[in-house]
Symmetry: none
Subunit: 258 residues, 2 copies
Amino acid sequence: MENLSIGQYDLIYNAFSFGFATLAAATLFFWLGISQVKPQYKTALVVTGLVTFIAAYHYWRIGQSWSDAYTLVDGVHVPTEMAFNAAYRYVDWLLTVPLLLVELILVMSLTRSETVKRATSLGLAALLMVALGYPGEVSDSNNVRWLFGLLSMIPFLWIVYQLYVGLGTAIANQPENARGLVSLARNVVVVSWLFYPVVYFAGAIGLEGATATVIVEVGYTVADIIAKAGFGVLIYLIAVRKSEEPTQDGRAKAVPAE
Amino acid sequence: MENLSIGQYDLIYNAFSFGFATLAAATLFFWLGISQVKPQYKTALVVTGLVTFIAAYHYWRIGQSWSDAYTLVDGVHVPTEMAFNAAYRYVDWLLTVPLLLVELILVMSLTRSETVKRATSLGLAALLMVALGYPGEVSDSNNVRWLFGLLSMIPFLWIVYQLYVGLGTAIANQPENARGLVSLARNVVVVSWLFYPVVYFAGAIGLEGATATVIVEVGYTVADIIAKAGFGVLIYLIAVRKSEEPTQDGRAKAVPAE
């Protein structure tokens, strides 16, 4: 850990607080929307809110750990003995990244066996991807960071393949008023997840010191907000669209869920 | 209490935080699912969420107690005067272990008299099992640990007998689409509960020091997550399955709960 200027420390601290507020608000938005969708889409919104709930909890803890990890000495933030707990992010991802893929599968309303099969295989691949990243994240060696970072890309690429090829037909068979949104949600998963390796490898290409800390912490926070709250809004919109019934003039009509 | 390396201390700390996050998220999942099942299964989901709620509260407290129990001196975690409060686990189990068995009985929707009889006898046996374990857990003597550990196995074996023999007919009479899951839930109770004596007797077979602390704390945490959140997901799935109405073509159809 290195010294940080007041501006650098505050930028990261405020990013964490912003992350907590956004994710907590998103959680309430998704859960308050449950009554507005048809029964078969309720579980998708429950899980969408669980993801942001778990992430909000971890941003709260991350903010506390950040406060404990530095002390202000003569206008400079100096590391204390309490190291910043980077494991919170990985514990969070272990839970939330598989659930993010489950959200997408649930809102597609496939058959039960297809849902179980897809959710299980994608979830396990996501778990493996996160678990493989951790040893590299906490290592001081750039070689170890590269090794585990690249190993972690294998399940990532498999997930991308599944999302575009494995789920291709299922997405093409979505109702017309939701097909574009489901396809967009799939793209948001892949694009927002690309942030993570960029931030991860920023540490491996020799970027060091206070600037690297700012890039890593703010970068992961922005990526988490897009991948969880932003992606969740798309899941919500898909669930609402698919709960509408088409009227005779071709326009969709909202129906009460119960 | 012995000194712990930063890695050992952090592993346990992060396991407790992971336990809290998982159990809190599971609680919300079960309670948000209440509206999705038929009236006769709602109480099962209420109780399932109570178990994980009580456990989440205790993991929060356990995490705080863990922080208070150690202080960092020259890169080593040294015990403070505040001993880690192991009683939180037993207070938790006193409440949650009987309720876990009540969940299973409730989701089986037996007759009222059968439900009361089974829930009372299994709940009391579980209470006795937990209460008998505690004097051994806090004793410094291996003999006392063995004595109470073995005494505690008597109600445990009675519970296992009841789950396989006493409830055998009731499980065989479950609706076809839920029978496999009920049987699986029963097996998960027994298998996940076997973790506890293994961890418990790890202290009695002479495993000591920092490694024993890591095994005990991480082991109990993993067992709690499987026995409460994992088992709860099975109860949730059983309640959802049994709330479905079969359609003419034999496939189950989701029905709104209200």
